[in-house]
């Protein structure tokens, strides 16, 4: 070697694990639905609650396996709770402030979290009705990112008593 190497003070020691993750039959039905622009949940045969996204296993309330049949929910829903994100963090894709909302899709019994846009954060409220905004169909994949965000639908607010059981 013509030149002496610099003193080594630090080394990179990256590690990783590579999995093949299988979604299982019920989550796969949900993912297949997203490819077609449908929001598909599954119903508990005991308590009739509709889970979206569906669980692969059992209803956590009843302990029985969810039914096989797809249950289409939404596309509109109701904001049950929400959070105004003001804090920047690593990997953040949207400039704060923005609203992460728990949205109870029509026909579902558990809320799901999604982004709420096209509304001032100060105007967001529990009971607000919202609709999905879909990405261009050419960009769809088996992912909830097919819906870029929700926005107010203009429908009248829902009374608290109508979703108090699904909070």
């Amino acid at each position: 070697m013509s030149n002496e190497a610099e003193d080594v003070l630090r080394i990179r020691t990256p590690i990783g694990v590579e999995y093949a993750w299988s979604a299982g039959t019920r989550s796969s039905a949900y993912l297949n639905g997203l490819l077609e622009g449908k929001l598909l949940g599954k119903r508990c045969p005991s308590c009739s609650r509709v889970y979206f996204p569906p669980r692969n296993g059992n209803c956590p309330m009843c302990g029985v396996l969810l039914g096989d049949d797809d249950v289409e929910v939404g596309p509109n829903g109701t904001v049950t709770t929400f959070c105004v994100v003001n804090v920047p963090f690593l990997g953040q894709k949207i400039t704060p402030p923005y609203v992460a909302a728990t949205i109870l899709l029509d026909g579902a019994d558990i809320g799901m979290q999604h982004l709420l846009q096209e509304v001032d954060a100060a105007d967001v409220r529990m009971g607000m009705r919202v609709e999905p905004v879909w990405a261009p169909r050419d960009n769809w994949g088996p992912t909830m990112e097919n819906i870029t965000h929700f926005r107010p639908s203009g429908e009248p607010d829902v009374d608290y008593s109508d979703y108090a059981g699904q909070l």
């Binding site: 070697m1 630090r10 080394i11 990256p14 990783g16 299988s22 796969s28």
Partner: protein, 166 residues
Amino acid sequence: MTDEMADGPGYAIADDGSFTAPLNLAYPYSRTVGPIYGAFLTGLANHKVGATVSADGTVFVPPAEFHASTGERLDNWVDVANEGEVVSWSWEADPDDSQPLNRPFAWVLVRLDGADTAMLHALDVTDTSSVRTGMRVRVRWAADAEPGIHAIACFEPVEIAGGGPS
């Protein structure tokens, strides 16, 4: 990973309709190496294999920071050869991307000439009949390695004149 996942949409759908996708976790750690490993790795970058030597004359490669029996701090250095002997080995039939060679190879414990301990590395041989305990091997330096043990690309058999690998 199937070709469909690698080259297609990033997921595969089985006959029963279930989705499978790669899920890769990676942690890009780095670490400081301290004075002893640092000196060892600096030596490797200069194509020298350094060893620490204890008061009882034991030569440690890779260098130990302390003597395991006496607790003695080790900071006397000596260079050892870049050739040595396989003291144990294991076959790697299916290497992954993080490993030193991208084809089947042997993991070997090599005791370099002048050392009393053995170090782990890869030995570039094509099959299990080409590796045995006691065989002579030498360092193959990496052409362009970042700082670390991969300054040694791997070990290779020492060819004996008039014969195959010893």
